[in-house]
Symmetry: C2
Subunit: 347 residues, 2 copies
DNA sequence: ACGTTGTTTGTTAGCGCTAACAATTGAGAG
DNA sequence: CTCTCAATTGTTAGCGCTAACAAACAACGT
């Protein structure tokens, strides 16, 4: 008891010269360092008395295991790499939060790598970065089909969970059922009596974009309606605005299902400028339900996705894979309608 | 040359049993492992011939340095922890991207920890997480003054860079000049002839919120105008909507400077419903210039901040601190006005 | 020729931890 | 009172790397 080390929970790290090691704890508890190792790793064969003595010593010294040393011998870094593009978007950002939460709860670290651009080289670069770090697994938040394809071409020796994939490829996946969401949106419009239902889609090379369009098409087919009113945007409010200007002139549809809330915002703006009233003249449905959607002009009917839940599910799946690398599969989160003022029966 | 290992740039990791080590490279190049270490660490005293031989061997074997082993001996993880709250918001998310970009370019890994709630215990928890991981430094993306205070109370032995702090505390900081941004916004309104300029502020316990309010106050004082029209919101569109309803009844101001774009959206919505025309009856200025701001009804005049640049500056500062821990200070990014249709001279 | 530099390379130890094995102890059966 | 077995604890080796030192070698002036 040469020196008294603080173990106040608010004192995260003392300014001592050297951090205590297993050996220091062992000495203090009067056991071997291996016994201390057993205690911190919850090995069963440690007597209760010893365990308590060791735990006391750990608390007194404020001992924290050295991750690098453990990684070196176990070949496990307890780090999950999150490969993300479009992290500034509402969806991916919240998914990341879900992943982080679940990971930290499970004792894992979360490392991120943002994709600078879409393309195989950029993906390979990010993956190399993760391999250098020795991540135990990779969660791919990659909405582009191309990115996913590039990832599948790489020969990886860690498990990969893809967000937004149905898990039919090489990797496990967790996804919000985009097709279902689109069908809900279109069903809502049909229920209100709409027969000419257009679609402002997201880019079709995005997995979610293609899925939503497919759902729109299926719902229309089920109802015996035509699926000829389709325009492709780029997710941005600006593209929605441009498309809205055209649609305002054409006036072919009484309702429009828009691929995301941002494009819907642009559409509403264009309609407003052109004197097309929403919902009296045209009904508009968005997708995502970002927090602002309820304050658009008019408040937007949209499809809500629980991105955080998606992230948590992802991490759950990753943990399962890390325990038993044989297992794989997919988990699906259901979206739901949020009806606001931008939809109404046609005139 | 028993086995031929691929070193195709697309093959990130072979499925060999064991990854090659320094020793393997050394053997192949006919040198000692230490010489290989010198090559990969760019030590000067290696002859050109040897260096080339070693580099060839590295490429042939696809050797990648084991981070855990290096960390164990150097006590450097080459990892930066980003402590973030409100990561789902436009600003912090983009700042994170800037940090990630600069970090990866500098050969650093980026680990994240999201704050589950505001409060000292949550901060201590996240910091402990980072210390367990052995991060070399922490970038704090913490907009609450309280969070920052909690962080300052901890005794940390790694450098900390705070985003949004002016660097006058214990830590270095990188910030967008919020006060200047607010002054620009108010100056723009004054220039248009407004004399009664209200402010819908963000929460005053947020650093940025308080700064913007202060800037509004100063600009008014400089012009000899009253600063009595102040209401505090919570950054959300919903709070902006509620406040907008009240302001629409009171009609005390001819112009409103709103603390962020989202609250401005809510305000516009409330004004629209109440028949208050923007900008004819009231001018509105936002803050942030998120991508959608140009498509509000009407398009929003606002103050643009370059969040990614902020993130990059942060990381630059961190790198400087890591090289020379004595250095500290602050770096400031200037915001700029983006004038759109929501502002006009008073009637 | 000689020592005296400086440059390049090799050897050794050890970072802090866990896995594998070895040793010790105690309890119960014979 | 020994023997066996299981439970508990200790000992040893080594994960892959870098720092520190040692050795070898060349170049140079005297």
């Amino acid at each position: 008891m040469r020196r008294m080390l603080a173990h106040n929970s608010f004192m995260v790290n003392s300014s001592e010269r050297r951090l205590p090691r297993l050996e220091d704890v062992a000495e203090r508890a009067g056991v071997s360092h291996q016994t201390v190792s057993r205690v911190i790793n919850n090995h069963p064969n440690v007597s209760k008395a010893t365990r308590e003595r060791v735990e006391a010593a750990i608390a007194e010294l404020g001992y924290r295991r050295n991750t690098a040393a453990r990684s070196l011998v176990t070949r496990r870094s307890h780090t999950i790499g999150v490969l993300a593009s479009e992290l500034s978007q509402y969806g991916p950002a919240n998914t990341l939060l879900g992943v982080e939460q679940a990971a930290r709860n499970a004792g894992y670290f979360v490392s991120i790598a943002a994709l600078r651009e879409v393309g195989a080289e950029s993906v390979a670069d990010a993956v190399r970065h993760f391999m250098d770090q020795g991540v135990d697994g990779i969660v791919a938040l990659v909405p582009h089909a191309e990115t996913l394809a590039a990832l599948e071409k790489l020969s990886l020796d860690v498990p990969v969970v893809v967000v937004g994939s149905s898990g039919e490829g090489r990797f496990s996946g967790a996804m919000v059922d985009q097709k279902l969401g689109a069908r809900l949106a279109v069903a809502h419009l049909i229920e209100q009596g709409h027969r000419r239902i257009g679609h402002v889609s997201g880019p079709q090379d995005w997995i979610d974009g293609a899925q939503r369009t497919e759902g729109w098409r299926e719902a229309l087919a089920d109802a015996g309606l035509a699926d000829d009113l389709l325009v492709e945007g780029d997710w941005s409010a600006g593209s929605g605005y441009g498309i809205g200007q055209k649609l305002a002139v054409e006036r072919a549809a009484t309702a429009v299902f828009v691929g995301n809330d941002q494009m819907a915002l642009g559409l509403l703006r264009a309609f407003g400028e052109a004197g097309v009233r929403v919902p009296q003249d045209v009904s508009v449905v968005g997708f995502d339900d970002q927090p602002e959607a309820g304050y658009f002009t008019p408040p937007l009917t949209t499809v809500r996705q629980d991105f955080e839940e998606l992230g948590r599910r992802c991490m759950d799946m990753m943990l399962a894979l890390l325990e038993d690398s044989a297992r794989a599969g997919a988990t699906v989160v259901d979206p739901r309608m949020v009806v606001r003022a931008s939809t109404a029966p046609p005139a």
